[in-house]
Symmetry: C2
Subunit: 412 residues, 2 copies
């Protein structure tokens, strides 16, 4: 094995999750313990911090505060949505990254993010190889959207799914309190994949789920939606609906965008989010009292409802990235493989080429969606339920969350 | 002491809270143990269930399920917003209530709700006295709004406040993740009193609170709001704002209503909630990326974040109502008195005439609000912090909440 000595960088990118910092902690904790890694650097705002040479010396942080990262939502180092150029078209950024890598003798680069971040990771890896600079580049997955290719599931998904299912169960209680009619539309994140919205169906296992659930994996028909909702409302006086922000008509137009669909002929002049739009449509159709609820940022930063399984797996992904890199692995993202032992869920890490992850997207399989395309079946429930399990022992002060406070001292 | 033997009714009314069922359980549990109370009846949908003679025999419920009411949000018996007539104008309802009371030999009536419910309670009590039917009528308070007169605080407030403060802390992390500008407006319930919105300031104690906070206790100026937000945004690149749904201009017009204010001259044609409206105003003014977040129903049913103190006090209020009624007390609402012993918070019950509660409303004292009227001071923090304390041991199945399942068998 080629032992490689030098500094490492950990960067975070893309939208935050409740547990992205648990992965960062997995990287930092493991790297700090390694004799080969001479310095652990945290990039401020992802790759932008590398470009700006804004790198924190993680070895100067208090170890207890670092451990609190496991329970601190959002990206503690700062994140970015910076799109790096194709190196063949413009290699300015890559030259600068190389310069900073050389300056700090960076030989390990860990990037913690979703699909776009894996693309960045892949490009940096290819560039470093092309110029003969030895650096092991590893992707650490993160996304509440759960849409990364090649992995059973993604760190961040389980906690968001738990937040959504719990909130759905609570709103169910609330929406059924009066003897008068009530329709509630809950809008859930996920522009292209319906994993998060489907998580609302976990509440159905306990008798408090949505009556209807719409995913971006299928084409939305406003007329079918209205007919279904009206039928349920007529029968029960209530209708609870979970809907993905990314639902679209057959022609591809997002329902959230205020234009007339060629398919359905429905238009909506309202501003406001999708939940409001759909709630208003049903108000007109039924005369019912309606509520549009958008889970908004809350679903991706609701660390107080994090899944212990998710936290532990997120840490494990970060740890595995470092361990594999130290063992000579390069250009891979850590993925998860589901292992069922004696009927019990377990999870182990695997390695997926960055190239493959950067160019694909994982959606809910068609045969997990019901025939009427307004719900998911047992296959989804069995898939998702293990991911939300376990209550983390959340550190609190005065019954409010105690998040990590980092000193963020720039490396010399 | 006049020992009064007969059945009791517990009814729930108004908007739900996370802990209203803890109070109902306090009533039911205490009443079931009493030798004087011959039958414990739960009214379906509050007073409407009495009018319809839809009364559940709570003695037939499983005792474990009843205990789960402590952790089950919303009104398990069903609620209503039924406005009872003045008995002098129309006594139809009262005659019917008397008929149902006689039928089941109801001698105790416990009504669990907010200000309007206490008004209903008061009127029923006066009617029963006027016709010489002996029945002890007691109010059990409930409201996330915390606006009931004569009590230090209200059951339901502490849990909602904890939900709001925790969510604010998490959103703070999320809103500060990028190096780009971001403005977030969080809309919180409370049409006439700002107690809930002020709870967002608890997050400031831990460095993750709103920069600006607007209450219905003061007049809102759109120009002042814009100036303050722009100043903070210019300095920090971020601005986090908590705003009550009930903020209004000097002339009394709600800011959430789409009309031009005579005071400020600002108008807004947007539909959508107040958070969206204010976020759009700031987007125009600053060009920043904005997010409007409405906590919506989530804040009043988020039992997973309930305060243990609130649950215990809510139970205590229900218990005290029964005990006092058994001791001959009548026409009172249970209130809370704060007792500071050796610098530690404690709470005991007291009795407040229903008449007084029905006609008053408690707002945040002016001297708890800061001079610039965009925040609260230490007096509020010291008041509210004890109310959110303690983590209840929430029953879960598969890491999702296990709510009470009642059989709801109608009384013969």
């Amino acid at each position: 094995m080629n032992e490689l000595k030098g500094a490492c960088i950990i960067g975070q990118s893309g939208g935050p999750t409740s547990v992205i910092n648990a992965s960062a902690y997995g990287v930092i904790d493991t790297a700090l313990k390694s004799n080969l890694i001479t310095q652990v650097l945290g990039a401020e705002y992802g790759i932008r911090g590398v470009l700006a040479d804004r790198l924190f010396d993680m070895g100067l942080e208090d170890s207890h505060e670092l451990e609190l990262l496991k329970y601190t939502p959002s990206s503690a180092l700062g994140s970015c949505r910076y799109k790096i150029a194709e190196p063949s078209k413009d290699d300015t950024d890559y030259k600068r990254i190389l310069e900073v890598f050389r300056k700090h003798n960076v030989r390990y680069f860990f990037y913690n993010g979703g699909k776009d971040s894996m693309d960045t990771c892949n490009k940096i890896n290819q560039y470093m190889q092309s110029v003969g600079y030895e650096c092991r580049v590893m992707g650490v997955p993160k996304t509440i959207d759960n849409d990364l290719f090649g992995t059973d599931h993604c760190p961040g998904y389980g906690s968001a799914a738990k937040y959504i299912a719990t909130s759905m169960m609570e709103v169910y209680q609330d929406a059924h309190v009066y003897d008068t009619g009530m329709i509630v539309v809950m809008e859930i994140m996920g522009r292209h994949a319906g994993w998060l919205t489907a998580a609302a169906a976990l509440a159905s296992e306990y008798g408090a789920g949505p009556d209807l659930l719409y995913l971006p994996e299928t084409d939305f028909s406003m007329q079918k939606f209205i007919d279904s909702a009206k039928k349920i409302y007529a029968e029960t006086g209530k209708c609870l609906i979970a809907v993905s922000e990314g639902i679209h008509y057959e022609d591809g137009d997002f329902v959230s965008e205020a234009k007339k669909s060629a398919t359905d002929g429905f238009g909506h002049a309202q501003l406001g989010g999708l939940a409001t739009i759909l709630a208003e449509v049903l108000k007109e159709e039924t005369g019912a009292k309606v509520r549009g609820i958008e889970l908004n940022l809350l679903q991706r930063c609701g660390a107080h409802l994090a899944s212990k399984t998710d936290i532990e797996e997120s840490y494990m992904a970060g740890k595995a990235a470092v361990e594999n890199a130290l063992n000579g692995i390069n250009g891979r993202m850590i993925g998860f493989e589901r292992v069922i032992k004696n009927g019990r869920y377990a999870c182990k890490t695997k390695l997926i080429p960055l190239m493959e992850v950067a160019n694909a997207e994982k959606k809910i399989p068609k045969d997990w969606i019901n025939e009427t395309e307004d719900g998911v079946n047992r296959k989804f429930i069995e898939y998702a339920l293990p991911l939300i399990q376990g209550e983390p022992d959340l550190p609190k002060v005065d019954s409010l969350p105690r998040f990590a406070h980092l000193k963020k001292i720039l490396a010399k």
